[in-house]
């Protein structure tokens, strides 16, 4: 091998390895397809490295174990797939309210209900609107390759610590199961090398005792806490928006897609460009914060957008919020676990593009 650090890795393993190399000290999980490979990988790696792996009795227990472990200052992760993530929502709300850092991975499957285990993007609303009860947001990162699963999981731990907030990695069964080469461009950190956090509850040694809570019975105090969180979220919105552009220069129609859908969109857009169609792609990498501002600016010149999702249409609402009526927003979706082909999307885009051209 030319590059020692280049490895063919399964998506779920890349997430796990990123966590290990980020100094994740505790992992809690419960079996559910299609994310079992991640739990199994963590079982092996955490035991090998002498760290904490625990298979919990439920997703509810897992997120609350993560909550407890996070309160000691340790870097923690839990993972699940759609129905299990629904079960974790109460805990995620508490973690957000208590301002604890925690990384949560959702390998999204088809739904609602038990649905199926095929790749889907139908948890967008749940992920980007907080998901549980109360006024809060979670940072949501949407990788589109195994390399990004690695990079963004690693990044998630840093963001979680920096903002003391839960960070969600939103992937799907296809990304989790597939293998691609991964290059490790980073330096491994061991849990014991991480700096001490000044707010932990590990026993009041040589300092006054402290407590971490979310119950604020006084409405004025709760209001102030809500505004405080809000200001934090605004700070995140200013600093942590991530997106990628593809053939957007001179584009007349902008496809907006993330994760697996963005991969497919890329291929379709490329074919469009080869056929001299002025079509480009905007790929949000952070789903919250969403690149509203960028889309708004783009809509100054691009008058047609198409949200392409593996759902009946959820992100499309964010695209509309970004466009603010400046441009037309179309939607093409395949829910239920169907992964559309680039050829199919190409046909859809072509139709839309020709219609736009005729109406011009």
């Amino acid at each position: 091998m030319k590059n020692k650090e280049k490895r063919l890795m399964r998506g779920s393993e890349a997430i796990g390895e990123a966590a290990v190399r980020a100094g994740c000290a505790c992992y809690f999980g419960y079996p559910i397809t299609p994310q079992n490979e991640l739990t199994e990988y963590m079982a092996r790696r955490m035991m090998d490295t002498g760290r904490v792996f625990l298979q919990s009795e439920s997703e509810i227990a897992a997120i609350n174990m993560a909550l407890g472990a996070a309160s000691t200052g340790a870097r923690v992760m839990t993972s699940s797939s759609s129905p299990g993530i629904s079960l974790k929502q109460e805990g995620i709300s508490f973690i957000a309210a208590m301002e604890l850092p925690c990384v949560i991975v959702n390998i999204v499957r088809g739904g609602p209900g038990l649905g199926n285990i095929a790749p889907a993007q139908s948890d967008y609303f749940q992920a980007t609107r907080g998901g549980g009860h109360g006024d809060y947001r979670t940072i949501v990162l949407a990788p589109a390759s195994v390399q990004e699963l690695y990079d963004l999981t690693r990044k998630s731990f840093e963001l979680a610590d920096e903002y003391r907030t839960p960070v969600l990695v939103l992937a799907d069964g296809m990304l989790g199961q597939m293998m691609e080469p991964v290059v490790f461009n980073d330096k491994e950190i061991l849990p014991e090398q991480l700096p001490d956090k000044p707010w932990t509850v590990k026993g009041a040694k040589d300092r006054p005792s402290r407590f971490i809570r979310s119950l604020l019975l006084d409405v004025d105090v709760e209001e102030e806490q809500n505004w405080r969180l809000y200001r934090k979220y605004q700070r995140i919105e200013r600093r942590e928006i991530r997106h990628e552009e593809y053939y957007m220069k001179g584009a007349e129609l902008a496809i907006v897609a993330y994760g697996t859908a963005a991969r497919i969109a890329k291929a379709a857009v490329k074919r469009c460009v080869e056929k001299n169609m002025r079509v480009g792609l905007i790929r949000p990498i952070s789903l919250w914060p969403f690149p509203y501002e960028h889309i708004y600016k783009t809509a100054e010149t691009v008058k047609h957008f198409m949200s392409f999702e593996m759902s009946t249409g959820q992100m499309v609402e964010d695209v509309q919020l970004g466009v603010k009526g400046r441009a037309e927003v179309l939607m093409y979706g395949r829910p239920g676990g169907v992964v559309p082909t680039p050829a199919e999307l190409f046909r859809v885009i072509s139709r839309a593009y020709n219609k736009i051209a005729r109406e011009k």
């Binding site: 091998m1 063919l8 285990i117 296809m174 199961q177 293998m179 991969r263 497919i264 082909t341």
Partner: protein, 189 residues
């Protein structure tokens, strides 16, 4: 260039390993590559398959709706995938076990008695390596040498004898397929 291959067989035939070996070889040749296994409930029925995509450009979907190549290790694999192969594509069948007729035209079938060759070499279990060699000869999508290296890398360099045996098996499959291709070419010529 984008080449998609489906490796299919029943559980235990090592079809997933075949895919990982080819994907590793492609990675080491600095190509873009994705490997996608069948998963979940699908694999409980005893059949397994995986898709390997190799390209000089970024790969959009790791799934193949119309693969260029199919390697079928048993009858159900041939029946399941024969109709989605791209016209002009190839199906490489393990003729020791595949005895149903190919039910379509427009694709070339290369029949290699993988299980029999492996048995002659002394290990029936290595039929997948024989077929891997045959696939390499038919597709030329990765070089023979990088495939050999990849197999060593994937199956573990520690077991030297196993690696050497695998190389023998790959070579046998490769030679068998090469001969058939030569014959085909001479007929066409």
């Amino acid at each position: 260039m984008l080449v998609k291959t489906i490796f299919a067989g029943f559980g235990g035939q090592g079809v997933l390993l075949m895919g990982v070996c080819v994907a590793t070889a492609a990675m080491n040749e600095d190509k873009f590559v994705t490997y996608m296994p069948s998963y979940g409930a699908e694999v409980r029925g005893g059949t397994a398959n995986c898709t390997v995509s190799i390209s000089t450009d970024e790969i959009s979907s790791p799934i193949a709706s119309s693969p260029n190549y199919v390697v079928a290790m048993n009858n159900p694999s041939l029946l399941r995938f024969q109709h989605i192969i791209k016209p002009g594509g190839y199906i490489v069948t393990n003729s020791s076990l595949v005895n149903v007729e190919l039910g379509r035209s427009g694709v070339t079938q290369i029949q290699v008695p993988g299980s029999d060759i492996a048995e002659e070499l002394g290990a029936m279990r290595s039929a997948n390596m024989v077929m891997l060699g045959a696939y390499a000869a038919v597709s030329n999508v990765v070089s023979f040498q990088s495939l050999i290296d990849a197999v060593g890398e994937v199956t573990g360099k520690k077991k030297k004898e196993l690696v050497e045996f695998n190389i023998k098996a790959i070579k046998a499959g490769h030679d068998n397929a090469k001969e058939q291709i030569k014959k085909l070419e001479s007929i066409e010529a």
